[in-house]
Amino acid sequence: MTLSSIIWTVVKILIVVGFIVNLSAILTWMERRQSAMMQDRVGPNRAEITVFGYKIRLFGLLYPIADAVKMFTKEDFIPPNADKVLHSLAPMLSLFPPLVVLGVVPFTDTLCLDNLHEVVQKNGVVASNWHFFSSWIEQPSCSLPGAKNFIDGCCVIGCQTAGVVHQPWAEHFGTCPANVAPGMIGAIHMQVIDFNPGVLYVFALAGMGIVGASIAGWSSDNKFSLMGGLRAASQLVSYEVAMGLSIVGAIMVYGTIRLDEMTRWQGDHVWGVFVQPLAFILFLTAAIAETKRAPFDLPEGESEIVAGYLVEYSGMKFGMFYMGEFIEIATSSALLVAIFLGGYNMPFLHRDGITIAVGDAVVWKQHIPHILVILMQAGAFFGKIFVLCWFQMFVRWTLPRFRYDQLMKLGWRMLLPAALANIFLTGVILIAFDRTGTEFQERMGVVGDFVNLATAIAITFVQLWIVIGFFGSTQPAIRRNAFNKRARSAGEIVEKALAS
């Protein structure tokens, strides 16, 4: 470990944790505001601060701050007969796992630190004198003196073991192996920890969520808490099985359990959702169930068991559960993005810029400097997470809660068999695909390009639709007055009756 690698690790942790914690805060606002919009209400708009005499309300975005103030200043109540240690431990146990899960998820492509302003190609070719409108000059070599090694297309300085391109150490940690003289790192993997277990790590940590909830339920000395804890435990265990099995199909297709490699596969081919649609739905369902939110909020089921395992929590301890819940939404969205929605990839956005091509036919090509590509990728990744969170909110505010037996039936009798069937089907198709010739496989590649094209068009269209629909027309929207309409028609009926 060099100093620079430590610094980079810290920076990455800050990026991931900062993003996720802030996102969870914003999600609390989004939850309120979005549900309000869905239910014809106004939503949060009253928290205000006064700055230089101006009252600022920011559409209710100050609510999370107010929440934090409230939670920190509230009484921290521990029931007299509760297990004090476990009661305090439980919120931490439920906040911690979702926070660290994202450690293995890459949020951009590998960063070539020394070529930020240049166009970096897949094979490590760097066009140094890049200009937006001019053509570019290929320089099939590292521009830095003495750097001959490439990692994911980046130059690595100081690792002088020539000819070894895919050196495991350098590849995975962006540093030189021990027997090589340490030097500056040229390639940074944009994920906090870079190690092989990948999704297994994710599942290992996600499994810990049960511990927090059930300890909370047990230690509160409250029958409702206990029931909530039990419900949480059984629900999480059940859906973890389905969740784990649902992505086996995806793993088979990608041929790896490392999330960065999965993402890269999707960049090279198509998004996972198109090759594993069933797995996507199963994973999404199971992920929502794992967050313990409606329609799977039985552990809290306020109509039956008050607030489940949260009954005896107040102040910031409750806040930690609450935060953990929202962070879980963010993490589950991030996993869905990384595994099924292409991670940081956007259709036709490659390392060297945008290349719209179907098969071999290049429609349009534009080189973009490395730093911009990285930023666009980051934007795509975080943007996708945001959209998925938004979607999860819709699910939460649209569907009513399951009954407990329905919940269990759904988990064990529908999701699990479907996941198994998916594995089986994927296996069959994969074997069949391998047997086909290269011609067919190339044709499938073209199909994939079309799918990418469709995706790109759809994304562009939706964005345009939103922008035009929201801000475009200046014509006032016509409001239908339901009441007047009804009154009018009643009047008409009376008039008609009188006329006849």
């Binding site: 919009m37 819709f394 569907l399 629909g469 409001r479 007047n484």
Partner: protein, 220 residues
């Protein structure tokens, strides 16, 4: 036709009609399409309302309360005008000299279905011009938290001493004792138009139209 029986429950012995299980199509059983439909509904609302919000085109909640979209009245900022006869918190009316018109007859507290009016009657002192002529409330307490705002007290008052025309609805307070309105508090309230006087004119001893007390002097 009764449905096929399940288990050993004696359905045939129980009077009543079995409710048939609703038939469900495959798409309904398969969750996904129905969920999509549901989300489509909420999304429609979401986009419509967000659009109206962004563009500031919300219907006026007072003028147009029944239209579609967000018609929430944002209460402390926007207020629905109260009708003239709205029953707000009570006030005690004043006489011309500012003393309470109330004579502590307890009619209001008798009429009150919530039993939330407490009055202690007192007698004007021997020198007072109203001595023997009127009495007054030493204590006049209304528990506005217990009050159901029926207005019976106003109807019962023979003196126009208590009114509910303040236009002030009961304010949410932090603690119960803040809802206990005492005599001074009630006397300090004014009507929506700012009036504090009573409107039940009565000739009082020093008034010009109060007939002279005709004592035939020296006659026993």
């Amino acid at each position: 036709m009764p449905q096929p029986l399940v288990g050993s429950f004696p359905y045939d012995k129980v009077k009543g009609t079995a409710v048939p299980k609703p038939t469900r199509t495959a798409s309904e059983q398969g969750y996904v399409s129905e969920i999509t439909k549901g989300i489509a509904v909420t999304m429609t609302h979401f986009f419509k309302n967000t659009r109206a919000m962004v563009r500031g085109e919300r219907p006026d909640p007072v003028v147009d309360p029944m239209s579609e979209g967000i018609t929430t009245l944002e209460y402390p900022d926007q207020k629905r005008p109260y009708p003239e006869r709205f029953r707000g918190v009570h006030r005690l009316t004043h006489r011309d000299d500012g003393s309470p018109r109330c004579v502590a007859c307890l009619c209001c507290s008798t009429a009150c279905p919530a039993q939330c009016i407490y009055i202690e009657a007192g007698e004007y002192g021997g020198k007072d011009k109203r001595h023997g002529y009127e009495r007054y409330p030493v204590k006049f307490v209304i528990d506005e938290l217990r009050c159901i705002f029926c207005g019976y007290c106003v109807e019962a008052c023979p003196c126009d001493a208590i009114r509910m025309d303040t236009g002030v609805h009961p304010v949410p307070y932090d603690s119960r004792d803040q809802f206990i309105y005492g005599k001074n508090m009630l006397l300090a309230m004014a009507s929506q138009a700012g009036k504090q006087k009573h409107e039940n004119p009565r000739a009082e001893p020093p008034d010009a139209d109060y007939g002279p007390i005709e004592r035939l002097a020296g006659h026993h």
